[in-house]
Subunit: 512 residues, 2 copies
């Protein structure tokens, strides 16, 4: 059996095939495999022979998480909780209510909502009963919820996982399972007020997370469609061309042009006219410019979009964030359901700390207006206008994790405040009684699960885990009715009367 080291994906697959065929062999190596995609994907894998039932035929199993997914260990959970806290408290600051929907929906709820992306939906196996699919985003379930409950307005947030069968590029923070944080405002309101609030929220969150400088690109589907129309794109190709334009942040204009002409059958001169427009980006002055554009100004839809963008910029100025916003005619957004303003926040490539390498992370937040989606669920086609945003937690997470790794600061993965220790043998009973008192008083406390641990081991544990206080009980303390309270960092100890211990601990914790 060869020693497994760093293998290319293909070599690894071949070897694995061989292993699978060798009957009953037991073999294990920790393997770092390179995925065949653009970026290296390091997964700790182990090939093993199932041990469970000796009478059964043994089979080789790789212990790993499914492709494009990962576990979040304790340190990562601390980072994710910090991100979610910032995001959710911002959503609550803007008056949103909570909502949760199932991880899967009836398959038909998701059909015809995502355009070219529909092939990326995970379906569940037909095990008898309904045909189900894992949700692809939180927006369609929200629209389904509104239609099902006949709600005409709602401001809600939703934090949850979504699943997409994309080619995972882990280095860019793209996974097949990822967490989305959505905020949406549904209802018929005066134009652009909710839309402006969505952009304000993105700014508050990105500022709050201290991710460095960022820019929010803004466009409008009606401006895009108007532009397509005046450039000569047939209406039946609007969405397909939109999908191509959406790739401009990942591939060059040349490649996008090729896709539009060769694959989507667009006339080359039409593509070139589009090419002129999609280079345009700027502030509110570009909106004014487009109003004067001889072709665009002939299109009613485009003018409506531009009118709304002008109003939007007025509100963004009042919110003090206009400087963060760029009207960008190349912004298209992949999803089919947008009908008005669309936006996407990108981090500017100057890292927050000089020693950090810049990471290309694509958009970290995005959204837009989708006035037709609820109507797709409503039997009479009654629409509820909606606008919303989604925070790309995974990509933000990649940055924060990267920062964490390059920082020397030690991250605590527990919140334990007090450790219960003893210097003596046969003191488990006293430790158990004491720690129960602390727990019952709401104090976060731990002890070692040993009958007779060494004092040094116990104090070491406190220091390793960053636990600030230790309480020590021994023969002497028991006799005198006191407990020794030790500050772990300073190593100072004082004897406290047992009946005052909880109060003293709470006093110390509130001071720190």
């Amino acid at each position: 059996m060869p020693q497994l080291g760093l293998l290319h994906g293909r070599a690894w697959a071949t070897l694995l095939g061989q292993l699978r065929q060798s009957p009953g062999a037991l073999c294990l190596r920790a393997v770092h495999s390179h995925s065949q995609g653009q970026s290296p994907l390091q997964v700790s894998e182990a090939v093993l022979t199932s041990q469970l039932k000796p009478h059964q035929e043994k089979s080789n199993i790789i212990i790993k998480t499914p492709k494009g997914t990962r576990d979040l260990g304790p340190q990562q959970m601390v980072v994710r909780e910090k991100i979610l806290d910032t995001v959710v408290s911002c959503f609550k600051r803007h008056g949103a209510k909570g909502l949760d929907t199932p991880a899967f929906e009836l398959k038909e709820m998701l059909t015809e909502k995502y355009g070219e992306d529909s092939g990326l939906i995970y379906d569940l196996k037909d095990q008898g009963g309904e045909l189900l699919s894992l949700r692809y985003d939180l927006t369609v379930p929200f629209a389904r919820y509104l239609a099902m409950n006949k709600l005409k307005k709602m401001k809600r947030y939703h934090v949850g996982k979504v699943w997409r069968r994309e080619s995972p590029t882990i280095a860019q923070g793209r996974y097949r399972e990822f967490c989305q944080c959505d905020f949406d405002i549904a209802g018929q309101f005066d134009p652009m007020i909710p839309d402006a609030e969505c952009l304000k929220i993105i700014c508050e969150i990105l500022n709050g997370l201290q991710l460095g400088d960022f820019l929010i690109k803004v466009n409008d589907r009606r401006v895009l469609d108007g532009m397509f129309a005046v450039c000569g794109v047939p209406e039946s190709k609007f969405r397909a061309i939109c999908s191509s334009i959406d790739k401009l942040d990942k591939i060059s204009w040349k490649d996008v042009r090729h896709e539009m002409v060769a694959k989507k059958g667009l006339a080359p001169e039409v593509a070139d006219r589009i090419g002129d427009y999609v280079q345009c980006h700027g502030g509110v002055s570009l909106v004014e410019e487009m109003f004067q554009d001889p072709r665009i100004s002939q299109n009613k839809q485009a003018l409506e979009g531009l009118g709304d963008l002008k109003l939007l910029f007025e509100y963004l100025t009042l919110f003090g964030i206009a400087g963060k916003i760029s009207f960008d005619l190349s912004l298209a957004r992949g999803l089919d359901y947008y009908t008005g303003v669309i936006y996407e926040a990108v981090l500017l490539q100057t890292p927050a700390q000089p020693e950090e390498e810049p990471l290309n992370l694509g958009s970290v937040a995005a959204g837009g207006r989708y006035d037709g989606l609820v109507g797709m669920f409503d039997p009479n086609g009654h629409n509820v206008p909606c606008v919303g945003l989604s925070i790309g937690v995974e990509r933000i997470f990649s940055i924060m994790e990267h920062r964490m790794k390059t920082s020397s600061e030690k991250i605590r993965t527990t919140e334990t405040q007090v450790f219960v220790a003893t210097p003596q043998k046969n003191f488990l009973q006293e430790r158990l009684k004491l720690i129960a008192e602390l727990w019952d008083a709401g104090i976060k406390a731990e002890l070692l699960y040993k009958n007779n641990p060494k004092l040094l081991t116990q104090l070491h544990y406190c220091e390793n885990m960053g636990i600030p206080l230790a309480v020590i009980i021994g023969e002497q303390e028991l006799k005198e009715g006191v407990i020794k309270l030790r500050s772990v960092p300073s190593r100072e100890e004082v004897a406290i009367k047992r009946e005052n211990l909880v109060a003293e601990i709470q006093k110390r914790l509130s001071e720190s």
Copy 2:
């Protein structure tokens, strides 16, 4: 088309079939259907004709969530957040680290872990690539995580959804998608210390949630297996008989006995011997009694289990919770992977408030020791002993929701602190500037998304939503450089200098 009212499941299905067949018909009714199961399942459904693409053939779609799943609306989210807060803060109090794993695992990770329940696992469709299944619990993914990362000890909590294709009985809080809150201690430690802590945690959580009186049934798989052995059950039938015994809280002994004899081929006299034992339950004295039992005392495994239970009771007494624990020989737990102590908490049927109807909710928390599960993933079969617990959030939720509905207390679904209002027309710009100031100061604030809302409408909104403060800006205030600050409940208003507004609001909020 008949008017649809309350229809039985079968009638509804027939009608639906008719609707599905009528080509292109557009029809909608809100329907409350009764499921065919034991308990009524009220689902708001709507039959509709898809509106999206006029050129496509129209199909009838029922707008609903998948069978056995539900949305959690804002009020329900408030209740769930309260439960999760209590649970997670208890887990943190006991020094647990966070962990998250993907919603799905490689299918082979879940095989042979759940015994007779394996048929309830949701598989994903084979769309090319790996074969995947939705996780069935959080325990197996934890064991997989430990083995994959070669961790020998870890105290972690995990809150997440799991999926089981069970017959949903909604009235009992049983769903196909539900949330579990797990706490587990992995590692080789001195006996029964972590096990006792798990029981302490269950007590703290059930007390913290104020669910009324409860009891934790405790048993040990070794005692069960020993009992089976001395009763004459062949070893190959231990797990199957265990599954039958596990049903004793749902069906009668007569039915369980019938299953064991008729379906599982147990000799009637063996079944009867088991019948004698499973009626036994009591405190630590029953442990002593079993030590003396002429048959049980002949079995080495059973004696080991009894010895541990005795030690466990000693620790539970030190924790002050022995009174809540009942040694119960009928407790079996359905899952295959338990190897030692097992436990299950049930609420006693005296409701917390006299006007409440008693609900039969089965177990609200459960767990046990599983020393062999990690070894099933480890290539060399190296084990990591584990013990843990799972809180049944859904069932607790049913109780809390029921209590909420019968209570007159109004639950706020938003946390908005300040509402920004104006008595005048054309003040949108000033409102937007003002609210941005509040948001930027971290104050939770809302306004109406209208250019010219009526003052009464605005103040009504505050009262309806329970927002405690309103700030009012008009011509007069703008001229004088002040803002009117209104206490919504008392309707008292004072003028505050604009530069002092944020500080004054923060002062008022900190006082309330």
